[in-house]
């Protein structure tokens, strides 16, 4: 088995690699080694600029993992579905259509439909004063006033 001895980078090697990096001649492998070197704690102050550069790239990469892009994609999909549904429903059910069924037979003539509607209204409309009396009780204010009157009357 071939053993690969891990080589710890010296400051001199790091300086040389940094210079090579700024010249744009470093390989991917060399950049990885440089990144590993710069990620160490307790390095001399002169490496602060390079640490910031490599640290910045590292942070930016990690932030990309939480990008909004997939969410925006989904929001777009939801919006598209919504628009399609609304548009589709407008075509399928533009409005409630007016119609009547009499003994199972459909009527669409609006005048006839209205006549049927009025007939049904007449069926439920009040035929005596009881309805009018009931309507007088609808307003809560009146009801409260009546109840208060009862109390004020009992106190006398």
């Amino acid at each position: 088995m071939k053993l690969v001895k891990k080589h710890k980078m010296t400051f001199g090697e790091a300086d040389a690699l940094i210079e090579k990096y700024y010249d744009g001649f470093t390989t991917v492998e060399e950049e990885k080694r440089l990144q590993a070197f710069l990620s160490q704690n307790g390095l001399p102050e002169r490496y602060a600029a390079e640490q910031a550069i490599f640290g910045y790239f590292k942070n930016r990469k990690s932030k990309q993992a939480f990008t909004l892009r997939p969410y925006l994609k989904w929001a777009g999909s939801v919006a598209a579905v919504f628009v399609i549904l609304v548009a589709g429903l407008q075509f399928i059910q533009p409005t409630y259509a007016s119609y009547a069924y009499v003994n199972g037979k459909k009527i669409t003539d609006l005048d006839q439909v209205k006549v049927q509607a009025l007939n049904s209204l007449n069926n439920v409309s009040g035929k005596n004063n009881e309805v009018k009396q009931t309507l007088n009780d609808i307003t809560d204010n009146q009801l409260i006033k009546q109840q208060l009157d009862v109390f004020s009357g009992s106190g006398e």
Binding site: Y99, N103, L110, L118, S120, V124, E130, I138
Partner: protein, 149 residues
């Protein structure tokens, strides 16, 4: 889960949500219209966004059923459930059976909703159930309806 499956689920959910968009669909009486609307001996009316002899309805639905005790019982059971949370404006009870009920339902958005039910026995048994949606205040609408007579 892949994108296609997620999209399909979203679509089905959306369709489901839109299918229940009608305001009366949460009411039991909607079953009455569904079950009896197209049967013999029944008159069902649906008017939408129509001005009807001075009334402004965004939706008017009525059903009149003749000589059908079973339907009458079914309507009363539906009304009993829809009464919950509604304001009962009027109820007439004959021999322990409600023959006339007017309900003001809780407003849904800016839509006022009314249910009117009436049963007469002469010259024949006639049951009338009306459901109304309107932008007009339901109390004013009710007054209008009953004064028109």
């Amino acid at each position: 889960m892949n994108l296609k499956k997620q999209f399909l689920i979203l679509l089905i959910t959306g369709i489901g949500a839109f299918s229940g968009i009608k305001a009366q669909s949460d009411l039991q009486i909607s079953k009455v219209f569904e079950q009896y609307g197209e049967k013999h001996g029944v008159t069902m009316v649906e008017l939408t966004d129509e001005a009807l002899d001075g009334y402004d309805f965004s939706l008017f639905k009525s059903i009149t059923i003749v000589n059908n005790d079973k339907a009458a019982d079914f309507i009363r059971r539906c009304l009993a459930k829809d009464e919950v949370g509604a304001k009962k404006v009027k109820q007439v009870v004959v021999n322990g059976i409600p023959t006339s009920i007017y309900l003001q339902l809780p407003r849904k958005g800016n839509v006022y909703r009314l249910i009117l039910f009436n049963e007469t026995f002469k010259p024949e048994q006639k049951i009338t159930l009306i459901y109304i949606e309107s932008k007009t205040d339901s109390e004013n609408l009710l007054r209008l309806i009953l004064k028109k007579k």
